[in-house]
């Protein structure tokens, strides 16, 4: 079944395409290629995991895929559009509308209610103020936190905090959801719940990119992209 889904999505247009990406870090006289000619494509509606030993370039790849960092050379095509020379403002706008981030550390604002945390991306988009609260409540209900609207992060368990973070990632209805070790700080039960949410989102035809060092977790995706020493070793497209 996984195979057939994978085949089916291959026929659709890639939502994200990386072409020959090189990322070089320089420290003093030595240069180091964190990514060394990486080409990857990810299709609309696909659930992909990116994995590899630590230090192999997974984080760097995620930053470039997440438009948080610019490649030294190569092209990043998002919905067919080359974003390699976007300026900071255009990148910020794209991150806001097209991407949703879920981090290992949750990264919620402290002393701030769940609804306010969830509505934070709306602050930077065109959504009128009156629609923000209803939208945040809707998202929190979707992740099963309809009864914790006013709670601050300190009043929520780790799993609940991560669900708030997922609601925040979903609020602008992004094309792609990027999750960086989303269960890394959670116990196995909460981790399972979070993964279930990702599967649910996948069933709703969202594109999900899961970055993890945990092979068991990576296997839950349709396709596993493995990166080693800055090069892709399996399933680039």
């Amino acid at each position: 079944m996984t195979q057939s889904l994978s085949k089916k999505s291959k026929s659709t247009k890639p939502v994200l395409e990386l072409k020959n990406i090189v990322k070089t870090y320089t420290s003093g006289n030595t240069t180091f290629n964190a990514l060394d000619g990486v080409s990857v494509c990810i299709n609309q509606g696909e659930f992909v995991s990116i994995t590899g030993p630590s230090g192999s370039g997974t984080s760097t790849l995620m930053h470039i895929v997440g438009l948080l960092d610019n490649p030294t050379s190569g092209q990043v095509l998002l919905e067919g559009q080359d974003i390699s020379h976007f300026n900071e403002e255009e990148l910020a706008k794209t991150r806001n509308i097209t991407l949703g981030f879920v981090f290992q550390q949750f990264n919620l604002l402290a002393k701030t209610s769940a609804t306010e945390n969830v509505s934070l991306p709306l602050l930077y988009s065109n959504v009128p103020k009156s629609e923000r609260l209803p939208k945040s409540i809707e998202m929190l209900k979707k992740v099963g936190l309809g009864d914790k609207l006013k709670n601050t992060p300190a009043q929520l368990s780790g799993g609940q905090q991560q669900r708030v973070a997922i609601a925040r990632a979903l609020i602008n209805d992004p094309k792609i959801i990027m999750a960086d070790e989303p269960t890394g700080n959670l116990d196995s039960k909460s981790g399972k719940e979070i993964m279930n949410i990702f599967h649910q989102l996948h069933r709703e035809n969202r594109t999900i990119i899961l970055v993890t060092h945990d092979m068991e977790l990576a296997k839950q995706a349709q396709r596993i992209i493995i990166i080693k020493d800055g090069k892709i070793t399996s399933n680039p497209c």
Partner: protein
């Protein structure tokens, strides 16, 4: 185009500032102290000015003074060699008569002053004795009010009657048991009868208080001093519009006897302007010193904002990751700094206003809209100036670095 809207940004900044209330207050303390002292000092300056103006109004705005020496310089300030300096000129009765004739007025009032010991039965004290005429009291608000006796008459002056009018304070000091009227005082072995006690006038800044003066008919004063030198002449013009004309004619008369640097003819407005100029300069200087604490307060805000930016590196990274562009971050942190200084300015104005009300009980002080606006404006400016550097630092953080920050 601006996203988030200004309103959203300001609300967001307010929330961040309110999350840490004690820090907000402590950070604003520098600005609070600065603004409070600026408000207090300008209030005192303004109060002084108003007070001086009222005093001069009471004195009568149609009064012309003739003094020995050069008192004013060309710029309208006090001349260095004049007031308080060595004065050799003195006027005579002949000058008075000349002036009366030329100006066609009787209100040319000579004054002579000497410091001397005065004794009553129970006490003695060194005071200023002023010799003048029967016209001085009625024309200078210096008459005792009903029940406290009277000013001396023309007859008493002509006959060199041994009478005296006491200032309010000196009367109380010489006669602590009250009612000085009709009692005797001794000045240089002359027995004088107290015929009046003036009302309390209050101090006139640093100078000798008129409440400490003793007024005598000028002839008696001449006897006590041992010469007939007149040290000051007061001339009353019929109304304000005649002042310039009277001053010119007075100067013309005196120039026949004295050279131009050895006497000064001036009116109360001129004197008032000079005093106001001095108070103004003093107020600006003191306010300037107080403003230094505003700068110190601004540095405190900058310091805390830099700490805040470091502390909230992760938050900044997150905001950038979810779509905040650099300018949104810059404005948010800039507004936070401005809120800190604005809150400080607001509290400072409140404290300054309360302090002004308190001070006003024993010293003239008056708060003005101008000083409030200035203090508020300056505190906002301080927030902007000292908030820009930390805010720029925040806006330039790379989102990855910021998210990685532990």
């Amino acid at each position: 185009m601006l996203k988030p809207s200004l309103e959203d940004l300001i609300r967001s900044s307010f929330r961040s500032v309110l999350k840490n209330k004690s820090r907000t207050i402590l950070t604003s303390l520098g600005v609070i102290i600065g603004v409070t002292s600026v408000i207090l000092l300008t209030s005192i300056g303004n109060g002084l000015k108003t007070y001086v103006n009222q005093q001069f109004e009471a004195l009568g705005s149609n009064t012309i003074f003739v003094s020995p020496g050069r008192i004013f310089n060309e710029q309208g300030g006090f001349d260095r060699s004049g007031a308080g300096g060595y004065i050799s000129t003195s006027f005579t009765q002949k000058n008075i008569n000349d002036l009366k004739r030329q100006l066609k007025t009787n209100l040319v009032i000579p004054m002579t002053t000497v410091s001397s010991e005065v004794k009553s039965i129970s006490n003695k004290k060194n005071v200023s004795i002023v010799g003048t005429t029967y016209l001085y009291g009625p024309n200078n608000n210096a008459e005792p009010s009903a029940g406290n006796g009277r000013w001396f008459t023309k007859e008493e002056e002509d006959k060199n009657s041994k009478v005296a009018v006491l200032g309010y304070d000196i009367a109380n000091e010489l006669f602590p048991n009250g009612n000085a009227l009709g009692k005797k005082i001794i000045v240089k072995s002359k027995n004088l009868k107290v015929i009046g006690v003036n009302d309390k006038k209050g101090s006139s800044f640093g100078g000798p208080s008129v409440d400490e003066f003793i007024y005598l008919p000028i002839g008696i004063a001449f006897d006590i001093i041992g010469n007939e030198n007149i040290q000051e002449i007061i001339i009353k013009a019929p109304d304000k519009s005649q002042i310039d004309n009277f001053k010119e004619r007075t100067t013309d008369v005196l120039l026949k006897r004295f050279d131009k640097d050895s006497f000064s003819v001036f009116d109360s407005a001129q004197l008032l302007n000079s005093i106001n100029a001095i108070i103004g300069t003093l107020t600006i200087a003191l306010t300037g010193i107080a403003a230094i604490s505003l700068v110190v307060g601004g540095i405190g805000i900058m310091n805390i904002m830099l700490v805040t930016v470091s502390e909230r590196t992760r938050e900044i990274g997150l905001r950038k990751a979810i779509g905040a562009y650099p300018r949104a971050i810059l404005l948010q942190f800039l507004f936070e700094a401005v809120i800190l200084s604005g809150v400080g300015g607001f509290i400072g104005i409140l404290l300054g206003a309360l302090g002004t009300i308190a001070i006003n009980n024993f010293f003239p002080a008056k708060i003005t809209l101008g000083s409030i606006t200035l203090a508020f404006g300056v505190s906002f400016l301080v927030g902007i100036i000292f908030g820009v550097a930390p805010a720029r630092k925040a806006s330039k953080l790379s989102p990855i670095e910021a998210l990685r920050y532990e």
